[in-house]
Amino acid sequence: MNIHEYQAKELLRKEGVPIPPGEVARSAADAEAIARKFGTTVVVKAQVHAGGRGKAGGVKLAKTPEETREIASKILGMQIKGLTVEQVLVTPAADIATEAYAGIILDRASKKPVFMVSPAGGIDIEEVAAKTPDKILKLPIDTRYGLQPYQASRLGFFLYNDVKQVRAAGKIMQQLYAAFMKNGCSLAEINPLVTTPAPAGDVVALDAKMVIDDNELDRHPEIAALRDESAEAPSEVLARNANLTFIKLDGDVGCVVNGAGLAMATMDLVKYYGGDPANFLDIGGSSNPEKVVNALKIITADKNVKAILFNIFGGITRTDDVANGIVTATKQNPLKVPLVIRLTGTNEEIAMKILQENGFSASSDMDEAVKSAVALAKGGKTA
């Protein structure tokens, strides 16, 4: 789960990370009022779940409250990578001497959280990794022991020469690690981590990003509550609330499948036979008829869908549950587009009987079903 910059900053502040104050505005008038309160030059920052906000024009400096209002009115409602900006963060502009990067990423290869720090911050860390890999220090952490003081110190020395700044950075690393572990993150980063000009030379976090492991949310209801549904596609919100995994795509063959791997393979097969999948939809392992009803609701809401394909391989999933779901859903809302059903596995005979009694036919072969669905979406006859 993604959370917004201002939310990530709040979680880091709780651990003691030095971060300039900031407030969120949902209107230009509110942004102006916040700028007036700070009484200094501010930065207005779009709060969306997308990288490259600066490049897209979603981060701007404003010298006066009036200018803040004007800039906020432009950023609010702006589209960044297909997402509408609903909120802006207004924060006093900082004097910057240097910019560094500090992040923790859950790494599949080492099976550990890995610290990445670089004195070349403020920009895309992937670019630094590609062009000047020696400017990045990667440090895997054994979570059974946690981040040790010598490791925090090593990270600090990689960023700064001044011992006072090294110590300050080391402390921030400990705080960043604590926030990462406590909140069940799969990513936590500070970019940029800046130093202010001498003589102060403070080390301060100016931007923060966190991604939470969805599997942790049951353990952290307070983090789950940070979810901003207005920042997500409505169909994906509906699906999640119905315990389905759904991703909208641009094609016209709606797909309902059990299991992520088979769902991807089904979409690939649609493409292989010349069609275009409208979505990824995984109804999961132990499905009940209600899940199928919700799945059909979500798919039929997409006006691009010209045919619907069920591909169910019953293991834990009982195919008769799916058959009952199809019958119930189509009775409630008769389908306007053709339906192709492929069912095999647990309780297949019962499922086939239920479908036949209700006027549906089903195949047990995946390739045949996909070919039919593709042909029907193109307005042709079944293969």
């Binding site: 550990k112 799969s186 599997n215 049951d218 995994t245 991703i247 795509l249 791997g261 991807m264 391989f313």
Partner: protein
């Protein structure tokens, strides 16, 4: 022969009185798996299906029955503890079926299991089956048939699909292993490929990968350098959009690493057969057997 499990495998089921645990324990018993014990804290002394003794801890179960393998069906928040408990009790093969285990939990569990000299399969996996001998997990027994194809996959139902098509075409399996789709899992493709290479009963391997990560590319390098037996590969997610989560936490395309195209290119470079569709496994494997 087979890999990891055979007719001598003795199993303790952790969470045997739960909804999923009891259902699948019955299925395993029906298949002929030697389930010697169950564990549910607080229900020690009772019997499962009037036959299998239930213990309060894995240590008690192992001491009393000598179980060498564990199947875990406990809920996600208790899965890490269950795996640690099994490893600590001296169980050498731990199969964690549970879906939704926090990844940070696995960062503590994985090194501990290694240090104990145990093998973990999963979490978030369908387990494994050596047809005609034993099954540990949830793979439907009736779609499998004994034979000489080793099957290894990151997915559940896609594994069933391929195994079903192999069986229909008369191609039996030595062992089918679902390694799971999570970012941190106990056993990877290479572990399974090495075991299949060493197993006299396996003549060829079918491998189903997914987008995300570099496990399939690493596996391709392993095939090229260390395997004499033919391997046919498939990648699910060729139509996926970059950066989107496709149900499995592991299946994320980040930047250039982990796309289907990259993985298929790695398979081709390693001289592996590449199945474009699940059904293609049949012809490609027949040619190599």
């Amino acid at each position: 022969m087979s890999i990891f499990i055979d007719k001598n495998t003795t199993v303790v089921v952790q969470g045997i009185t739960g909804r999923d645990g009891s259902f699948h324990a019955k299925q395993m018993l029906e298949y002929g798996t030697r389930i010697v014990a169950g564990v549910t804290p607080g229900k020690g002394g009772q019997k499962f299906e009037d036959k299998t003794p239930i213990f309060n801890s894995v240590a008690d179960a192992v001491a009393a029955t000598g179980a060498n393998t564990s199947a875990i069906y406990v809920t996600p928040m208790f899965a890490a503890d269950a795996i640690l408990e099994a490893a600590d009790a001296g169980v050498k093969l731990i199969v964690a079926i549970t879906e939704g285990v926090p990844v940070l939990d696995m960062t503590r569990v994985y090194p501990f299991v290694k240090e104990k000299g145990a093998r973990l399969i999963g979490p978030n996996c369908p387990g494994l089956i050596s047809p005609g001998q034993s099954k540990v997990g949830i793979i439907p027994g009736r779609i499998c048939t004994p034979g000489s194809v080793g099957v290894v996959s990151r997915s559940g139902t896609l594994t069933y699909e391929v195994v079903y098509q192999l069986t229909r075409a008369g191609l039996g399996q030595s062992t089918c292993v679902g390694i799971g789709g999570d970012p941190i899992n106990g056993t990877n493709f290479i572990d399974c490929l090495a075991a299949f290479e060493a197993d006299p009963a396996t003549k060829a391997v079918a491998m189903m990968g997914e987008i995300g990560g570099t496990d399939e590319q690493d596996a391709a390098t392993f095939v090229m350098q260390n395997m004499k037996k033919p391997v046919v590969g498939f990648i699910a997610g060729q139509t996926a959009r970059p950066g989107r989560r496709m149900g499995h936490a592991g299946a994320i395309i980040s930047g250039s690493a982990g796309t289907a195209a990259e993985k298929i290119a790695a398979f081709e470079a390693a001289g592996m057969g590449v199945a474009k569709r699940p059904i293609d496994f049949v012809e490609l494997l027949k040619k190599k057997l």
